[in-house]
């Protein structure tokens, strides 16, 4: 039976689509069969972040309206054979889909003979219809936030709505775009601060890494490569499938002398 995970945040621009692309790809790299669904109808972007924008024939709204079978709309990623994308329509709006239709579609995918392990939904910003559609059939939520007041306030609101939807205790937090230089000089909230405020299990922390921009430029998710963000995303994937992985030291570079000096000081990482 597949697990349906919604990636949501309330606020726009905190990294939902990037997170979805990297976690979907990461889980597939770990051998899981994954379908990613873009639910941001009218403002789709998951396709372009994954570099699959030229492969779209049918979309989510076509499936919902019965213009094609779900299998026809699924795009396979040639670089990653266990990964599938169901893009949404660009020329329609959120009202083209209802929560009931989403639940029906997810049931069909769950019962598909292909036996997908994970169905990951990229949720649009906001708390309106698009959000309601995305959370309707979810078993679990990943709430993405950044260490900023606006993103954290919106994340708290989203958690309230997810709780009311029956997802309490099935929510995990991803703290994105952390800049340790700013945290260290006291000008950015730390992961601990964010956890203290939101009281939600932190499943991962991702540094503000310029490689993310490079990866998006190319349309190649960086999960699992040598970059800090790539490692952080891969760690999140391991935790999603239930493995325990220690948190990455985001203080970065981790050069020889730094490691040596922290060894002498007996610093706890």
């Amino acid at each position: 039976m597949s697990e349906v995970i919604v990636v949501t945040s309330g606020k726009g621009g905190v990294g939902k689509t990037t997170t979805t692309a990297n976690i979907g790809t990461g889980l597939a790299k770990l051998g899981k069969k994954v379908v990613m669904i873009d639910t941001d109808t009218g403002l789709r972007n998951l396709d372009v972040v994954l570099g699959l924008e030229n492969r779209i024939v049918y979309n989510l709204v076509d499936v919902i309206e019965g213009n094609c079978r779900v299998k026809q709309a699924l795009i396979t990623d040639k670089r990653c054979p266990k990964l599938y994308l169901l893009p949404t329509a660009q020329t329609r709006d959120k009202s083209a889909v209802t929560p009931e239709q989403m639940i029906k579609l997810l049931d069909d995918l769950k019962n598909d003979p292909e036996e997908f392990d994970y169905i990951i939904l990229d949720c649009p910003a906001g708390i309106e219809q698009g959000f309601q559609n995305a959370i309707a059939g979810a078993d679990r939520a990943l709430v993405v936030t950044t260490p900023e007041v606006s993103a954290i306030r919106d994340a708290d609101r989203i958690v309230g709505l997810l709780d009311a939807h029956g997802l309490k205790d099935h929510e995990d937090l991803i703290v994105n775009r952390i800049r340790m230089d700013m945290v260290n000089r006291g000008d950015m909230m730390s992961i601990e601060d964010v956890n203290d405020i939101l009281q939600l299990n932190v499943i991962g922390a991702v540094p503000d890494d310029e490689n993310i921009v490079v990866a998006t430029n190319k349309g190649q998710p960086l999960v699992g490569d040598g970059t800090m963000a790539g490692q952080a995303y891969m760690n999140i994937c391991h935790r999603i499938i239930g493995e325990e992985v220690p948190f990455l030291d985001l203080n970065g570079k981790g050069g020889f002398f730094k490691k040596l000096s922290s060894l002498f000081k007996g610093e706890k990482k």
Partner: protein, 91 residues
């Protein structure tokens, strides 16, 4: 707060954390400004039965307060009600 803290400049990260903690308490309480206004008017009505208060200067807000149980802090309704005259009631 220790004496040392007084001299240490507070980073903007701590400012953000403190602001958020207060903000989320009132967000979570789901109190619209209209509801707050109704609570305020009811408080004025009740207290006015016993003493003369400065209705203009009355200030109420939802904050959090330290508590021994429940993880340290619980939401609290804070009211600052200036009294103009403690009359012994005219009953």
């Amino acid at each position: 707060m220790s004496l040392l803290d007084l001299f240490k400049k507070k980073g903007s990260g701590d400012v953000a954390k403190d602001r958020l903690k207060l903000l989320l308490v009132s967000d979570r309480a789901n109190c619209s400004p209209e509801v707050m206004e109704m609570i305020k008017n009811d408080i004025i009505k009740v207290i006015s039965k016993y003493m003369v208060i400065d209705a203009e200067g009355l200030d109420i807000q939802i904050t959090s307060t330290e508590s021994d149980s429940n993880n340290g802090s619980v939401p609290a309704l804070f009211a600052n009600i200036p009294i103009k005259d403690i009359r012994n009631s005219d009953k």
